[in-house]
């Protein structure tokens, strides 16, 4: 990918972050934003910038970066253009882990870990289902297995919620529709670690994913341990899904859409695709969250609904170009 396009992605993300901090119920000027960040502005705008807007914007950026990078890597390793944490059932598994931990009144710090355990369980289940049906190497079978595991995860969540009180159900529902409303600096720090580790592993595996995308036998001929590398991608994808799901619930279409946009912009090798998707995904979710909280202010739209509203028509246009 050309240097100018990397530059464009960085500028886009910077613009998204500044816009995300500046706009909202209270509009701030770029000057207010800067003084708020430095901390020498009016106490009101410093508080808005530092405790409300900035963690929210950064959390949205991290969610987008993690989902898009995971989608890019999974599409490569499964050789399937529809693969992403949601369709593969990984996010569903993470959601089950998080819901079970919440229902068991586990401390907040344990929720991302429970989500990770759930995501890994769903990966294992999807791979077992694919293997049992004899389609281990067939990307379509893995995806179908993932869809089934995702549906199962949904059913588990509904069973858990059926016995919960009304308040808890409303909270859970809001979370399942995706939201960064209650962003805290603690969440930002936790997700930052998840995203740095997850995206780091995926970028390191980038070249191996290029080889894996050529097919199992060719990859084996080039010295790749196919099972181990694809498991590595699944685990890193599960880590990113767990981190984003426990921070912001279910935000769909980012992992599907952004890698395709990045490919259309000229990225072809997976190291480039994954890194560029992380930048692009971060911008997309920051803008989507900005829209979610300003379109019908003072009430908010669910973030997951906004990304789907943007994602579906975009994807239909892409589908024509991809097929």
């Amino acid at each position: 990918m050309h240097v100018s396009r990397w530059g464009a992605l960085v500028v886009l993300l910077a613009a998204a972050i500044v816009a995300g901090v500046a706009f909202g119920t209270l509009h701030l000027s770029p000057g207010d934003v800067m003084h708020g960040l430095i901390g020498d502005g009016a106490p009101m705008s410093v508080a808005v910038v530092r405790t409300l807007r900035l963690p929210r914007v950064l959390l949205a950026a991290l969610v987008g970066a993690g989902l898009a990078a995971a989608g890019a890597a999974l599409q490569g390793s499964t050789r399937n253009k529809l693969a992403e944490p949601y369709l593969l059932g990984v996010s569903g598994g993470a959601a089950v882990g998080a819901v079970l931990a919440t229902a068991a009144r586990a401390p907040a710090s344990l929720i991302p870990i429970a989500a990770f355990a759930g995501a890994l369980t769903s990966v294992a289940l999807a791979l077992l289902v694919a293997r049992a049906s004899g389609g281990r190497g067939d990307p379509r079978v893995v995806l179908m297995a993932g869809v089934v595991v995702g549906a199962f995860a949904n059913a588990v969540i509904m069973v858990v919620l059926a016995n919960a009180d009304a308040g808890a159900i409303r909270g859970a529902l809001w979370w399942m529709m995706g939201s960064v409303t209650d962003a805290s600096w603690m969440q930002v720090r936790v997700l930052f670690v998840f995203v740095v580790v997850g995206v780091g592993v995926l970028v390191a595996l980038g070249r191996a994913i290029d080889v894996l995308a050529l097919g199992d036998d060719t990859a084996a001929g080039l010295g790749i341990h196919v099972g181990r590398v694809s498991l590595g991608v699944y685990c890193a994808g599960a880590l990113l899904a767990a981190g984003t799901v426990s921070a912001a619930g279910l935000v769909g279409f980012v992992g599907l859409l952004v890698p395709h946009l990045v490919r259309l912009a000229g990225a072809r090798t997976h190291r480039t695709i994954i890194a560029a998707a992380a930048l692009g995904g971060a911008s997309l979710v920051v803008f989507a969250d900005l829209f979610a909280r300003t379109a019908r202010a003072p009430s908010e739209l669910p973030l997951g609904a906004v990304t789907a509203l943007i994602g579906v028509p975009f994807f239909l246009i892409l589908l024509r170009r991809l097929t």
């Binding site: 097919g215 080039l222 010295g223």
Partner: protein
Amino acid sequence: MIAFRDVVVTYPQRPMPALAGVSLDAARGHITAVVGPNGSGKSTLVRALIGSVALERGRVLVDDVSIHDLSRRARAVRIAVVTQREEPAFPLTVLEYISLGRYPHLGVWQSPARADLDAISNAIERTETSTFTARAITELSGGEWQRVRLARALAQGGDAIVLDEPTTFLDVAHEMAMFELLSRLAADGQAVLLVSHQLNLVARFAEHMVLLHRGHVEAAGTPSDVMQGAVLEQIYQWPLVITRDPAVGAPALVPLRVRTRGEHNS
């Protein structure tokens, strides 16, 4: 260079082994061709070499070292493999694709060095693919794609190249060019192990032929040793005669038409 010793491979849920004690050698400086009917175990041989199937018994050796004692990467540095089918999922350019041949030579964060770039340009030159290195691999014709795959294997370097049906989608000219190139590689000292359906072509180019049937080595030796009418007729279950290639005198197989009732032989 590459040696199979009494190799047995059985696929799960199959009663008969795909390879039932196969031994053969592919030496440096020669084209060794493995032939046989569909389902005789030819492709399983390649999959056993790259570790895609487990050996039930026997050993696969690379210069007397078992592939189990070699890392996959170390094996890939020495032996390049062009598998039977390969459908790229994403549109890399031809140059990017050929460069992936250097994958086993590079560390995780290492970028290609002078030697890598030389191997890549050398491979492009030998396969005559330089005119379309910027094109997407998903947009190549069948013949171009086979040449590009060979270029990727050549860029991989090493002293051995293994090809499974490399001429399936090629027309006569490209098929001959492919075999001529393999012949030059062997002359340069590479071990070329070729799995092929093209008995007649193989008989012209290979020094050593191995005939597989139901996982067993049915015959092995020079093309004249292996191309025996009675044996081939038995194995392929089809009437045929062996004649001589008019150009070079190599044995050539001519399958006969089966006379059916009501059809008159004129």
